[in-house]
Point group: C2
Chain length 393, copies 2
């Protein structure tokens, strides 16, 4: 379990298989984001039809509402959101630093104010690990100290050191929970074991270090020395730093990453970022871009983004994306989809979200195919030529 099998590579780009308790996923893999235990506007059936194999949910959000105790009482996160395929939970670190109205960081943890009701809450590496254990996703993430992408070296070093100390504590608590067979908080959990059987779960470290290569290198070395992991996440990227800085960071680090670990680039991405990151050896991705953009009326297509509100589509009988097999593209015209957005109809939000998720999942699938048949470099050039052209024209 949790074994990653590398099947093919083409320069740095890789394709492989990751075995998780709720199923095996193929990489490169894009995971839709179900922030509050639901991928916005989509049902589990929609996600299956879009070909999703792995979905992310947010520990911070589920902790503040409805609370992990409620999720456990309702059978754990898989049962709660009716998703029987693999799940990954983010640790809450990112949200504590991006959403909370107030926060006080100490070496022990983070005191913060809930963005919902202003209540003071305290998250530690141990609590974040326990919450994720209670939720029961296949993959849990270590609790990290996230800083802005443009942070100076001193700030970045401070956050890196704290994240490394927290990682040790997360790993220790996770180990204890695995040994105890699932009792995160005593009797209450024991009682509900029949409804919520102990889930085998793995914990992945998150590499921080901002845009400072020395820090990233040191962080990587210390993470790998700390234990034997089943995966590795790159955090603190795609958080406001210039795109070239992120690409450089990935390209420089890649040769030093153990090939046997799946590499999860957090918070990426948009189509062109996904391709660039796969070229630089990344395997797993999550981002709200497909659903958020979909709700704004922007659809990804092979010829670049399309804003469906554009008056040009008023009487356009063509599908959104002629190459796509999703419900939006096989059932409706651009003219109808535009009407749904003009009329502020909920179905429009859903159809464009569905299309964008399907688009990124198909994009990951195309990359898998190209890597496996050895044509990835040429594929990536053609893809970029077609996708970026409209923006350059």
């Amino acid at each position: 379990m949790f074994e990653f099998t590398l099947e093919a590579s083409s320069s740095a780009a890789r394709s492989g298989r990751l075995a998780l308790p709720h199923g095996t996923i193929e990489t490169p893999c894009f995971m839709p984001v179900g922030t509050q235990g639901t991928v916005r506007a989509l049902s589990p059936n929609d996600l299956r039809m879009a070909g999703a194999t792995l979905v992310l949910a947010n520990t911070y959000h589920l902790h503040v509402r409805p609370g992990e105790d409620v999720v456990a009482q309702l059978g754990g996160l898989h049962r709660f959101m009716a998703w029987d395929r693999p799940l990954l939970t983010d640790s809450g670190g990112f949200q504590v630093f991006s959403l909370a109205g107030f926060r006080r960081v100490s070496d022990d943890g983070v005191e913060f104010q809930s963005h919902l009701d202003g209540a003071r809450r305290f998250l530690t590496p141990e609590r974040a690990t326990e919450i994720q254990w209670t939720l029961g996703a296949d993959v849990a993430m270590a609790f990290d100290h996230v800083i802005p992408g443009v942070a100076d070296e001193k700030t970045a070093r401070d956050a890196l050191e704290r994240t490394l100390q927290w990682l040790e504590r997360c790993a220790k608590r996770h180990q204890e929970l695995r040994r105890s067979g699932g009792q995160a908080d005593g009797a209450a959990v024991t009682e509900r074991q029949s409804a919520c059987p102990p889930v085998r779960q793995t914990l992945w470290p998150i590499l921080q270090g901002g845009t400072h290569l020395t820090l990233r290198g040191e962080g990587l070395r210390r993470i790998l020395e700390m234990g034997s992991w089943s995966g590795l996440a790159m955090g603190g990227l795609s958080v406001g730093e210039p795109k070239p800085a992120m690409y450089e960071m990935l390209a420089t680090l890649e040769p030093r990453l153990p090939p046997a670990l799946p590499r999860y680039l957090m918070g990426v991405g948009f189509p062109a970022d996904l391709v660039a990151a796969v070229e630089r050896g990344m395997d797993l991705f999550d981002c709200v871009a497909p659903t958020r953009n979909g709700r704004n009326g922007t659809a990804f297509t092979p010829d670049g983004p399309v804003n469906i509100r554009n008056a040009a589509y008023r009487e356009d009988a063509r599908p959104l994306d002629e190459t796509c097999d999703c419900e939006a593209c096989t059932t409706f015209s651009r003219g109808y989809l535009r009407h749904l957005f003009q009329a502020e109809e909920l179905l429009g939000l859903r159809l464009l979200s569905l299309h964008n998720v399907r688009y990124l999942i198909r994009l990951a699938g195309e990359m898998r195919g190209a890597i496996r048949d050895g044509s990835f470099a040429g594929w990536a050039d053609s893809w970029r030529h077609r996708y970026l052209q409209p923006d350059l024209a």
Copy 2:
């Protein structure tokens, strides 16, 4: 085509079959409302899974946005909204009188201000008929003058007379369109005939007369004298008058309605109204109640309405309605559905809308079954006992 076959009856309650160009529907039948060419929050697949056979769309809304010319250019209303089963369009009369910011009624028609952009528009019986012909629904409705349910006899007589005059003009224009083979406005339509073939469509009259039995009786007599119709709608009910007044109106009129015509009670209803109306001989119904209530978090169940936001459902693992086979009830717990509403997630709006539509369609199906096997009176008593009990307790 458009023939109604009465299959069974039990006192006034009836069950039959209505043949329409896009399929045969069984009555009693509840039709979900797709105001703007989409049943809010639901896709055509959702509607098929909910068992919908007939869907209503609003002429007024589609005329002001996107415009019937756009719908025709995109292949007509069926193709536009990707609904291949029967469609009925309301004439726009109701919306002109309920939504427009300004209106001036003359015998010729109604000048009104669009609720969207304030633009002045003019609808006449002829225009309403042409627009519906262009949209291409299976059933078109005559353009009527709708008044509040509590209007006095003088106002009601005035509106009835105008509605009867307008009906003659609608029928005349509809006849011309049928004879001309689909050319509503000349060359433009001819050009797109290949994309939008002439649809066989029928036109139904709407009986007005407020809560004044004499007027209703007179209106009915004059409508039946005017021609041979394939259906008959009861308008101007469920528009603010007391419930008992509506029930009395239906019970008194029912023996005078020709058995061979399907009877469409417009704008009804809530579950208890649906049962009461079927008891009084009505066959077809439309209402936004299931979707509007669903979006507010209220679900119809055999034990009465449930508000899913209620804190009592926080950890409730039971389905919303144990007797229901819809996606919401077979997939999710009440606790999860409550969470979706608490978290303001779009999936909640969709799931409760889907359940409520399915509920009314199943309710109509149960009534069909009970009428056909002769148990309707007992069925209705048991149903009411269970459904109304929580409200009485």
